[in-house]
Symmetry: C2
């Protein structure tokens, strides 16, 4: 059972990502590629040839280049001059920086979001938790993917509740890059432990124990990071292994 068929990110109100930067086709391409990366359908290091992508969407290289450039900005794609664009292959150091940034930002976001939370927001969060739980119990690659995605969505949902578009965009980027990192360095077994931690966090917020919620959040992020194996760099591209 594939858990996604429509545009996945309609779940969370994306604040138009970059204000009103790019339009129509270009945005569609960008979003499609981003989803594919975050979902691990495109493995890190995969080459994104402009002509090929353009052919898939029936557009010229012009629009593809625009979409790729946007993804470079988000850290999901890298380009090497005269060689082309590739799905990003974050280094262990970069992974550490991403999670360090999350540990700094997310408590602040939680605090700000808590100030705006209504019963309706809590209902939304509880639904998300139920979804996560359901995915956790399923087997198979696609469930695993959906689980990573859902886990990220939880954090994005909280960011959205701050009503702060600037922070929301930062979180969008951080979560997307985190998904990429997890897909690269995540140990096979778990990431499931995260679910109960999410529940605890919501419980704490709802109980008005904001300090506790913040501590849980930091702990949770540290927990996700601890589940990575950053010792070795997974080899997706020979060049990355052979010449550093």
């Amino acid at each position: 059972m594939n858990s996604r068929q429509t545009k996945p990110e309609t779940l969370i109100a994306r604040p138009d990502a970059d204000g009103n930067g790019i339009d129509g086709s270009q945005r569609a391409i960008r979003d499609a590629i981003r989803d594919a990366i975050v979902d691990r359908r495109l493995m890190p290091g995969t080459k994104l040839t402009e002509t090929d992508v353009g052919a898939l969407f029936n557009v010229s290289r012009t629009l593809v280049r625009g979409a790729l450039q946007a993804l470079v900005h988000e850290g999901l794609v890298t380009v090497e001059r005269n060689r082309g664009a590739f799905v990003a292959n974050p280094s262990p150091e970069e992974a550490r920086q991403i999670f360090a940034t999350r540990r700094i930002i997310e408590p602040g976001i939680l605090t700000e979001a808590a100030r705006h939370m209504t019963p309706s927001h809590f209902r939304q969060l509880r639904e998300q938790l139920v979804d996560e739980g359901r995915l956790m119990s399923e087997r198979g690659q696609s469930a695993r993917r959906a689980e990573i995605k859902a886990s990220g969505d939880f954090h994005l949902m909280i960011a959205a509740m701050t009503g702060n578009a600037v922070m929301q965009r930062f979180m969008d980027e951080l979560i997307a890059r985190s998904s990429l990192v997890i897909s690269l360095y995540g140990q096979s077994t778990v990431s499931s432990c995260g679910h109960s931690e999410h529940t605890e966090i919501v419980d704490a917020i709802e109980a008005g124990q904001l300090d506790r919620a913040n501590r849980l959040m930091v702990h949770h992020i540290r927990h996700i990071e601890a589940d990575l194996d950053l010792r070795i760099r997974r080899a997706n591209e020979l060049r990355d292994v052979l010449l550093p």
Copy 2:
């Protein structure tokens, strides 16, 4: 006396902004426009016609479009479909969100940076403070501009000391947008008060009083924001005033 003649941002090691996204001419154009915006040489609402900009740099519209798109991503430029690109005209709400985000992020950055600070770093900060002081005592528009710029550089310098490129890039964006906001909504008189606050912050860090430094930083940011007049929207484009 114009305080800038060479590329201004060479002062602070920009971590290649977007990894290694765009190259050569395109980056030069982007940086030139960004500097002009942050420096208030380009007022909010100014139209950035692709052909004109291209003529200035002797490049085709292709590269200009790329540079403008990058600036859209950073929130310094907005584009309206079939109408063109304009220097961003942040709303009061957007301004609030930018500063709210800074209040959340910067204490974390300060804490992280403090862990990495060496005597050489403190020397760098002290030099920056001296520069700020010098600019503060000067008169005239260009000194005012340089002062805003220098004040932002202080915060960027601290961000650079975290060694965290992800956070540094976020701060780059926040500081640039802050400069734009200040140029729009800043009251005429002050912003000078910021200087002594910077000094106090460095003093506190050097004395090992990290908590105090963090409190001073938050206070400082709140102080900058308090100096804005967000009640009215300065009219640079009629459309922004007439149809809210």
